[in-house]
Symmetry: C2
Subunit: 196 residues, 2 copies
């Protein structure tokens, strides 16, 4: 998605070879008019596919998922993160290791909001190692839901998450795939871009 | 807001005298078409007031705030919760005690996303004791921002938050004010409703 790539080039900050800060428009301050374009694009990319519900994970996925939900005209469910081991029987739980925060979170969704046979579109702002998505897919499996696909704003192409999902045959759409970050020059190279 | 009240009566579950569960449409599963009506209503209620930015707090405020942001055509910033005492100098921090979770969180916003003189509308899903809002207002004060008002979906009228904000002269708009919850009968009474 050209608009998103341009915005990343304009406002993204390369912190290290692994870390791209986009918190001025994506995951702390949020440009909701950009989110509208992102929502429209997901609608276009998953056109004709069955989507009964959108699922994301707190916190930074929620904004994009909700605005995307307007275009699909479906409810949005966000998985809650908890470090508590005290989990009620009414929820599906999966363990997710976060490389960013170096800790294991449990993500959970109330059983009443995932029904067997429902067609689910997963949406998130970032895809890196793919642990959050893998955790959500585990939960969808427990619930007997069908995974229609995964929509990601920014995929870190140099980490494994996208590869793992594609190898499983999952319909993954990433609006911008970052192939390389250069903290020395600040350069951001996207997949399929000519390297200058 | 009649639509919201009707939805609360239809799908809200009274757990105790203090606890109203609305997680089937507001803060776990989210009815984004309802959020559109909520956003429109906030736009109407704050019509003519200056709003440069909407601020909320993760996680359950984000959905309503983002969709409301579409109607105001402004960026949305969400304050992050952290229990860490390791806080960088680039953020404004406030301590917030949560009665729901019986713990103190720090909420923080990067300094770069709040500029002196900016007119801020605070949005959240719930107002109870008002600690989250008080924490955010503290942060706005540190940043030299101007508070235009506070928009809340559901205020618990039997707790103190609304009263405290109104006594400070803050323009508070709550779309539904719950006056009383009866866990025995499941009754939900709104402020200004005739008691049946």
């Amino acid at each position: 998605m050209e608009l998103l790539k341009q915005r990343i080039l304009q406002d993204g900050k390369v912190k290290t070879e692994d870390i791209l800060k986009v918190d001025s428009f994506l995951n702390h301050q949020m440009d909701v008019s950009l989110f509208e374009e992102i929502g429209k694009e997901f609608k276009r990319l998953f056109e004709g596919k069955p989507v009964d519900k959108i699922v994301t994970v707190e916190a930074s996925g929620i904004g994009i998922a909700c605005i995307t939900g307007l275009f699909f005209n479906v409810p949005v469910v966000f998985a809650k993160k908890t470090q508590s081991s005290n989990i009620s029987k009414d929820v599906y739980v999966s363990e997710v290791y976060s490389y960013t925060h170096c800790c294991t979170n449990r993500v959970l969704i109330s059983k009443e909001f995932l029904k067997p046979g429902e067609n689910i579109l997963l949406i998130d702002d970032f895809l890196a190692e793919g642990n959050a998505m893998t955790g959500l897919i585990e939960i969808l499996d427990m619930a007997g839901c069908k995974l229609t696909g995964v929509g990601i704003a920014i995929e870190k192409g140099f980490q494994d998450g996208g590869k793992k999902l594609r190898e499983r045959g999952i319909h993954l759409e990433s609006l911008a795939i970052v192939e390389r970050l250069d903290p020395r020059t600040g350069a951001i190279v996207f997949r399929n871009d000519k390297q200058s």
